[in-house]
């Protein structure tokens, strides 16, 4: 029980002090779970980052589930995942109670009109960074551009096709090509 509580509190603190989520969280989790608490080894940390990047969901959630499970099984996974979510849950819930009324104040509405411009810039900037890190070959570049073009066209002409359809198509194309390429690539083992 004490161990579960420690997992919960530790991840509660991690959840409370990481703004924006994502990669900022990784260094804090590493610092806490590898150096201070010695819950996982350096190697496990690297492994975990790879797993987190290859699975859906925010990296912070993935990491907390992983560490919690390593330490204490299912109940540990629940305790640490709950811990990492709870701070933002409380904060956002409180904000949700008054944001609508808040937006009716003229100055606040003005501030949010400015923020609207910033959000678009931030998202485009984040994707530029992701694109830089992407392993580029003909396939990946074409898929990225095709997905981009398809969604823009859907948005502008108000065609209701879910972007999940785009994702599934991309996965099928990549999988199909991996079968075609099989004989030529001797280096790629099983």
């Amino acid at each position: 029980m004490a161990e579960l509580f420690e997992l919960f509190i530790t991840f509660f603190k991690i959840g409370l002090f990481t703004f924006g989520g994502g990669y900022a969280m990784i260094s804090i989790i590493k610092d806490t779970c590898v150096q201070k608490k010695k819950w996982i080894t350096d190697e496990e940390m690297v492994n975990m980052t790879v797993v987190a990047e290859s699975t859906p969901g925010p990296i912070a959630i993935n990491c907390s589930t992983y560490v919690g499970f390593k330490k204490k099984g299912i109940s540990g996974a629940v305790a640490s995942t709950l811990g990492v979510i709870l701070p933002s849950f409380i904060i956002i819930f409180i904000i949700s109670l008054f944001l609508d009324n808040f937006l009716e104040i003229k100055i606040v509405a003005g501030a949010f009109a400015g923020i609207k411009a910033a959000v678009g810039i931030l998202i485009v900037d984040a994707t530029l960074k992701m694109f830089k890190k992407l392993k580029k070959n003909t396939l990946t570049v074409i898929l990225a551009l095709a997905a981009f073009a398809a969604l823009i066209v859907f948005d502008i002409f108000a065609i209701h096709v879910s972007s999940i359809v785009i994702l599934v198509c991309a996965a099928i194309v990549a999988l199909a090509l991996s079968f075609v390429k099989k004989p030529g690539k001797a280096g790629e083992g099983k």
Binding site: T18, Y66, F69, I91, I107, V119, I121, V124, S163, A174
Partner: protein, 189 residues
């Protein structure tokens, strides 16, 4: 039945949001708009609020939508739903599919998903900017706003120039604060 809709809607978001903090935004936007839970403007505001508060954007957005549509229970259900797929998948990988990550078919699928996600997020960002500049008419009909165009251009130039000159990236929160202060003077007075 709002609770069931929240559960199903956010399970879908949680299951398809590969690729970190921003990956969930297109899917959340899609789900939230299709159910009519929030306006497009409100989605943009919540992204900004999420960026400026602790926690992953995806979880924050689920909590907000759940809270406004179904109170504390709605918030709990939406947050639970958005996290559940990630939680289960990590456990499955740790317990059963330890070798999944080295499987060549899994790798092939992932190599297709990653670039497509980047394209999808980029399209969402570009469309947000486009809408803010070109669709300012009534009910998001066509209407070019020179004020919004200039505002966006100046903000973007400042953002990228600051990074080039300072050799350090400007944090998202800083950009949001600057845009809010500028917004008060340009739009709020």
């Amino acid at each position: 039945m709002i609770f069931l809709e929240l559960l199903l809607g956010f399970l879908r978001v949680g299951f398809f949001a590969f690729g970190g903090a921003y990956a969930a935004i297109p899917f959340i936007r899609e789900v939230v708009l299709s159910y009519g839970w929030l306006t497009d403007d409100m989605v943009t505001y919540i992204v900004a609020v999420s960026e400026s508060t602790p926690g992953p954007v995806m979880v924050n957005m689920a909590t907000y939508v759940g809270a406004t549509k179904g109170g504390i229970l709605g918030a709990a259900i939406a947050t639970f739903a958005v996290v559940l797929p990630a939680f289960i998948i990590i456990l499955l990988i740790m317990v059963i599919f330890k070798r999944l990550l080295n499987n060549r078919y899994f790798k092939a699928i992932l190599s297709g998903l990653q670039p497509a996600i980047i394209g999808i997020i980029a399209a969402t960002g570009v469309y947000m900017i486009y809408k803010n500049v070109f669709l300012t008419g009534k009910n998001a009909s066509f209407g070019f706003s020179i004020k919004n165009a200039l505002f966006t251009a100046v903000l973007a130039s400042a953002f990228f120039a600051a990074r080039k000159l300072g050799k350090k990236s400007v944090s998202p929160i800083l950009l949001i604060v600057v845009s809010a202060v500028a917004g008060v003077f340009v739009y709020g007075l």
